[in-house]
Amino acid sequence: MTPQQIWTSYYTMMRREFVRIIRIWSQTLLPPVVTTSLYFVVFGTFIGSQLQPIDGFSYIQFIVPGLIMMGVITSAYSNTVSTFYFAKWIRNIDEILVSPTPDWVVIAGFVSGGVLRGLLVGILVLICSLFFTHLAIANVFVVLAALILTSVLFSFAGLINGIYAKGFDGISIVPTFVLTPLTYLGGIFYSIEQFPEFWQNVSLANPILYMVNAFRYGFLGISDVPLMTCFAVLIGFTVAFAVVSIYLFKKGTGIKN
């Protein structure tokens, strides 16, 4: 295929996904906005007003970056895993597989769909947060880099889950039993500096901690871990998941045979 044809194929996948996300906005965009708004109300306003500031920021200001990131992570992951698995289940993934579209473009199409939904949710939750608190951006480049890399990473993760999933149970196990606990324990609601040393070290094994902290640094200029370490973890996981996705596609795991 020529570069122009490859672009047309990629654009077709993206257009289809954008139309789908907008068409079913009450399933794709609204739930994370509602859930996060409840966090703002309950943890930010009601409980947060009783708590001491953290690093000079009110509790609601402290948790907003993490809550935005939670919406991005959940949306990017669930978009890719559900879209890919559904395409596998009804076999309309064959529409793309019989075409000359290269594997890497197919992967890019699915991942971009997850990134698109992650970013849309991130923007909506950010707008929502402004009704509850004032937010300044310390470093816009760090905010954008953390946002985009995290949504890419979790889109790849969702794709790998979708490739291996053999039933609808298979697409809900990882989000429920792995992603949700890691996200809640990823420093959204607290600073790990409040923990004893042992639990600080345990927390450092959670990759989501680095994403939340990179994003928080972009907004508030504070982080529990060095910014470079955060981005090294983000890039490392993204590259690893991308390599695994390409390998699985090349092998035809879960989609051919």
């Binding site: 077709t12 257009r15 289809r16 009804i90 064959d94």
Partner: protein, 248 residues
């Protein structure tokens, strides 16, 4: 006639251990209307899946228009149109979107795809339904939609896996006329079907596959003449029965 598809010693063993194809060798000529017949589980869909790039073969060689499906899948895929056995489009999408998006996956710009879709949907009597979600189509219309989708990139080889299953008699005859017209226009067609009357009326060459092996491959006219004017259905039943009685 020029050889269009060459299949040599094609083998497929699934992870479950099932040997779906046990060294199939076939050649299909350019412009042919080729019927591949066999009982359920004989290996027809696996063979078509390998040609279309949906199933990874275990062994053997396949070339389409002189290009290997392993070495040059982009070329071979761009020349093949597939109409699968099961409905496999998104039922929530509109008819026009299903066809136009399929063109996009072949690198055809949207403007050109829309023009092509109009022609094909009109030819297949689906133009009036273009803005309806595909779930609202009747069974026969869904089959025609899959044909429209497979033809949007103007393939030279059309693979039809039981394209008229569940279609009423009148619509089936309409689809036969359409397929004949495509074949007369130079398109090579490979058809699998359980309607043996369909194969008898449409195809020029017939192959029969049983338990993953080709048990017959010859021109339809010659086969019918050799059996003294017997119907294809009777020839088929005799042959499969005979093959099943042989020790494997």
């Amino acid at each position: 006639m020029q050889e269009e598809i060459s299949i040599k010693d094609l083998r497929k063993v699934y992870k479950t251990g099932t040997a779906a194809l046990k060294g199939v060798t076939l050649s299909i000529e350019k412009g042919d209307f080729f019927a591949l017949l066999g009982p359920n589980g004989a290996g027809k869909t696996t063979l078509i899946g390998i040609l279309a790039g949906l199933v990874v073969k275990t062994g053997g060689e396949v070339s389409v228009f002189g290009s290997s499906i392993d070495k040059d899948p982009v070329t071979t895929k761009s020349h093949i149109g597939l109409v699968p056995q099961e409905f496999n489009f998104n039922i929530f999408e509109k008819v026009i979107d299903i066809v136009v998006d399929q063109a996009g996956f072949y690198g055809i710009p949207r403007k050109e795809a829309l023009a092509r879709a109009e022609n094909i949907l009109k030819d297949l009597g689906l133009w009036e339904k273009r803005n309806e979600p595909s779930q609202q189509l009747s069974g026969g219309m869904k089959r025609r939609l899959m044909i429209a989708r497979a033809l949007i990139h103007h393939p030279r080889l059309l693979l039809l896996d039981e394209p008229t299953a569940g279609v009423d008699v009148e619509m089936r005859h309409g689809m036969w006329d359409f397929l004949r017209k495509m074949n007369q226009g130079g398109m090579t067609i490979v058809l699998t079907t359980h309607y043996l009357e369909e194969a008898e009326k449409l195809s020029r060459t017939v192959a029969m596959i049983n338990k993953g092996e080709i048990v017959l491959n010859e021109p339809m006219a010659g086969l019918l003449a050799r059996h003294g004017g017997k119907k294809l259905e009777n020839i088929y039943l005799d042959l499969i029965k005979q093959d099943n009685e042989q020790p494997s």
